[in-house]
Symmetry: C2
């Protein structure tokens, strides 16, 4: 099995820790001493060799990837000239792999997801590889733990596929857009819906075959890029062709109308840490209701806090339900229930051209 890790995101929802120059996948968001992309590779240990792992990212992050993943062959860092959504990114990864091993299995994963149970995770990936060998485009279906309205959902068919081993594999009935609250609650109650976290396992040629059938122009572009690889025209072709590729998501462009799509339930403590308050879901909450991620803190009568400190002591006195993040050059203090408004902070910094803080 090969792995292609999508690491091109520039999310700002974890500002000020996640920055354009250092997005969250390159940061140690949960205070383990490993960045998220390092943890992504760590949890593949024993399953995939480093030489079989590829990272798709922006040009500005290439050096960071190689620095954080020593031992990764430099040619395994695939640079997108710019962000054009997940369709072209995944297509580019497949075009690279196609030259090396057209029938190989590829797991398309994200650099900024957390998995709390790597043993269960690896077992699911292995099961997914078996399904992929059986010609399925396989998607990891996150078993929902809440009626979340921020994710797309995957509806499975009723019974596991006959080929399933100890971990069930289901045919996918449909991919569904982000639901409203009532719909999300019915999905949760039904037990046959999963969150779509955008992790896919398939044969390289099967994925490219779906591109060819559903997105022939995009496929032709990818093939042109693939043909140029290893020649001295490679960079030039990539630059010129890339600009012509439609910026479409893999879900809309390929998965929703693909043939033979399977879903494997994943119950392994998955979390994409979409905002600071998600840390309560992935880190221990102490007896006082606080999540002290890192840094030195001194609390007096304070509860319900999420604190990610830096080099200085943070003293908290009589406060509740705050998110506090010290990145050294900036400090965030927000109410946990209103932390999505961090978007307005980033927008204002952008309007003021404070590139040092973005």
């Amino acid at each position: 099995m090969y792995v292609a890790i999508l690491a091109g995101g520039v999310g700002t929802r974890l500002w000020p820790r996640s920055r354009e120059a250092m997005p969250k996948q390159f940061s140690d968001v949960i205070g383990t001493g490993r960045t998220m992309i390092q943890a992504t590779v760590d949890r593949l240990d024993g399953l995939v060799e480093l030489s079989d792992i590829y990272v798709i990212t922006g040009r500005g992050y290439r050096a960071l990837v190689l620095e954080q993943l020593p031992g990764l062959p430099p040619e395994n860092v695939i640079v997108e000239p710019d962000g054009r959504n997940t369709g072209p990114a995944i297509g580019l990864a497949c075009a690279h792999l196609y030259r090396r091993d057209p029938n190989g299995i590829i797991a398309l994963l994200h650099a900024d997801h957390i998995i709390q149970d790597p043993v269960a995770y690896r077992a699911v990936l292995q099961q997914a590889a078996l399904a992929a060998q059986g010609d399925y485009l396989t998607v990891l279906g996150i078993t929902p733990t809440s009626p979340h309205t921020g994710y797309g959902y995957i509806q499975r068919t009723g019974e596991p596929l006959p080929a399933s081993g100890t971990i069930p594999v289901y045919a996918v009935d449909s991919f569904l857009e982000k639901p409203d609250q009532a719909t999300a609650e019915s999905f949760l109650a039904s037990g046959s819906y999963y969150w779509n976290a955008g992790n896919f396992i398939c044969r390289v040629d099967r994925m490219l075959g779906e591109f060819e059938r559903q997105l022939p122009d995009l496929h032709a572009g990818l093939m042109a890029i693939g043909d140029s690889l290893g020649t001295d025209r490679a960079d030039e072709v990539l630059e010129s062709v890339w600009q012509t590729l439609a910026p479409i998501s893999i879900d809309h462009g390929v998965m929703e109308h693909a043939q033979r799509v399977a879903v494997i339930p994943l119950q392994a403590g998955w979390n994409d840490v979409g905002s600071w308050d998600a840390l309560e879901e992935v880190l221990p909450v102490d007896d006082e209701g606080n999540v002290l991620v890192q840094g030195e803190t001194l609390l007096v009568d304070s509860h319900g806090l999420i604190v990610s400190g830096g080099k200085r002591l943070i003293a908290l006195v009589g406060v509740e339900d705050l998110v506090v993040v010290d990145s050294g050059d900036a400090l965030l203090i927000g109410h946990k229930k209103q932390i999505q408004k961090i978007k307005a902070v980033v927008e204002q910094l952008r309007a003021e051209e404070r590139f040092d803080l973005l």
Copy 2:
């Protein structure tokens, strides 16, 4: 008129801005660009020459005083070997002045008080000097703006003294301890009570005469110290005698039972900034209910804040009624209504011997 500024306090109620190595009188607490002791001297401009100003402080702060008050004659810094309350400190200042000008008028002021109206303040000091020439021990009575239970009160007699000019001077009926809430409310309603902020104006020999009458041992010690001044035994005498002096407050030891005590009402925006929430009383509160003292801030839906920042941006998102102070090496985030619990922070730092943060 001479001035003696008491600058020996090591208050921690404004931690982390006020520190043992840099108490609040040496800090720019309100973000004006001047420290509190500098502002104390600034507001005497035109009334008292720098050569007539003395500063009483601990040995560790002597260099800081001279650095912050360039032009102050070095011999005008009077060092207390250790803190022994206001009685000995004021007595020591008087002993020094007695050698220079025994009938001189001395204003005994504090280095860590804020005055918002220096013009009114200087007029009151001038009136107090007149009363002192008339043999009165004069105390500034802060016209109360709330039924504060944290100050001692001064009760005036009914009518202004005949010698009063445009600013009334009253004989003092009694000095009163910190009252309970109901008593404080009756004091406020009556209009004849003032906060005792410990600022006195008197002839030097009158004050020493009260020491002699009420505290003869302390007076004898002060005289021994005074006699040694200018000789090569001065340091030795100070060190040995100082340890024998009773650590008594000027209020208990002298003022409460002194003869011919007068009070002059002071309505000049006095504040001793006893805790961070007092900044709301002395600095402008903006339309959103925030006091942004210093540093760069970015607020989103946040109200009722007091923010004293440092070198880094502080972003505040959806929060209310917080005090935020960034001193560079420490950060305080406290609820405005519970900010007195800062004491517990300082106590814990002391218990952990974190002298770097005290």
